[in-house]
Amino acid sequence: MNRRHLVHAGGAGLFLLVACLAYTQNQTAPPELKVIKLHENLYEIEGDGSNVAVRVTNEGVILVDAKHERDHDALVAAVKSVTPQPIKYIFSTHYHEDHSGGNSKFAPTAEIISTLNTRISILEHKRPNDRQTGPNGVPAQLVFTDEMSVFLGGVEVRARFFGRGHTNGDAVIYFPDLKTVCLGDMMAGASPGVDYNGGGSLLELPKTLGKVLDAYDFDTVITGHGPLTNRASLVTYRENIVTLTTRAQAFVQQGKSQDELAKFMETEYKWAPNSIQQIQNVPGMMTELK
């Protein structure tokens, strides 16, 4: 073999090594999940995908949301680390894959419950493909329109649809005896996220949150993403949405273009150009706030 061949072989080998490294980097295990205890028998699991709530009872476990399909084993292990009880019910807050992707793995052994609209949104693939990281979620077989409760081991977990917000099928989950609510992605960061294709509404979101505040006695709020928070912070968050909407609506009603609105939201609310708020909210806001 002459020198040229060696160089070629070396180059090919190097290429293969780099390709192999790149491949294994993409096969990293999902980010670790972290279990936080809120109360005796109520936990929150953060990391990769949505926050998951875990209500432990002596007749089984009730989850709120199920993260991505890829998180299933880690999620089951996290629940096992706090209780030997089996997962019997899973309430889905809404149809997005980071909340309902895990349904496919849980459906054989747990009853998944969502609003009717959430089921429809999954079946009609309302989420654009570029926001999906895995297969479409499996919808709930058991759905409700207004309110549904599960009573297990002397405990009630209640789910209710209060109106449009993040989507048109957001379920708010309430643990009455623990004065805690799960808001799904109606609260998932400093800025609101509205999935217009999924039936969400920026104008309705603060009204819906207002109904939650009126209806339920709670101190603790489990958000769809991000840290635990409380009633006072929800009140503030809701007021901020009203302010944001008022300002954005005034701006849009001056006859501004979508690009101008995008820049306004970037300047005033730090919605980065490729952020989910820019992609998800801004086009729909142009229509809704006209």
Binding site: L116, F144, D146, M148, V150
Partner: protein, 294 residues
Amino acid sequence: MNRRHLVRLAAAGLFLFIAWIAWTQNQTAPAELKVNKVRDNLYEIEGDGGNVAVRITNEGVILVDDKYERDHDAIVAAIKSVTPQPVKYVFSTHYHEDHAGGNAKFLPTSEIISTKNARTSILEHKQLDASPNILPARVVFTEETSVFLGGAEVRAHYFGRGHTDGDAVIYFPDLKTIHTGDLMADTSDLRMGTSPTVDYRGGGSLLEYPKTIDKVLAAYDFDTVIPGHGPVTNRQGLATYRDNVVKLIARAQAFIRQGKSQAELARFMQTEYRWAPTSLPQQWSVPGMMTELK
């Protein structure tokens, strides 16, 4: 052994024999159940307790109501006679024992679903003559719920007060059939006639009754009606039943407003509607009617 002893022994034996026969008579098997086909993959089971609907899908069976606890084995056998599929869900139309008594036997293997009020009524023992052992649904709804199984939908909706304050009307949309629970009940076989029974203790209302039925007629497209008791009927049958409720209200209200007493109302309902003196409508409805129809 002398003759006196023999006579006494024979008498004792005869007594025991008669006692044994009396005991076995009280242990009669529940009335036989009869399976009627309503549609492809929809059956009705009548006999002993409320009518049960059986919706068969290729992923399991959904029942509406489960009769008395004593009927469990016969219900399971009746279902097995038409499908090998397991019972996955049971919708309860309301809390009365002849519709929900079987819950305890089905709960280990099936999800039972009812209105929230039906659960509360069971837990608070609102039906005084019911077994204290009835178990309520674990999964409850307020307005509407659906189960989607094997491509079929079974929907339950609370339309308002009537027989109780927790009546679920069950709809099989693809089969244009509803199950009304006791919002429509022909209980001629129980000597209660075809007039409505309002369980006031369980939150029912005679005045709301026809309005609730009207909402059902307006909301759902259906031809066939499975009532809580009595033969399968149709939309017109339900409309006629509703009209009869309106007439009953008008007549009873006029009577009460003449200043009649409860005993006089009781006699009126017995004469005009054949409500036998010790029947459920007399116990459950007459006192409440005095108040509601004033």
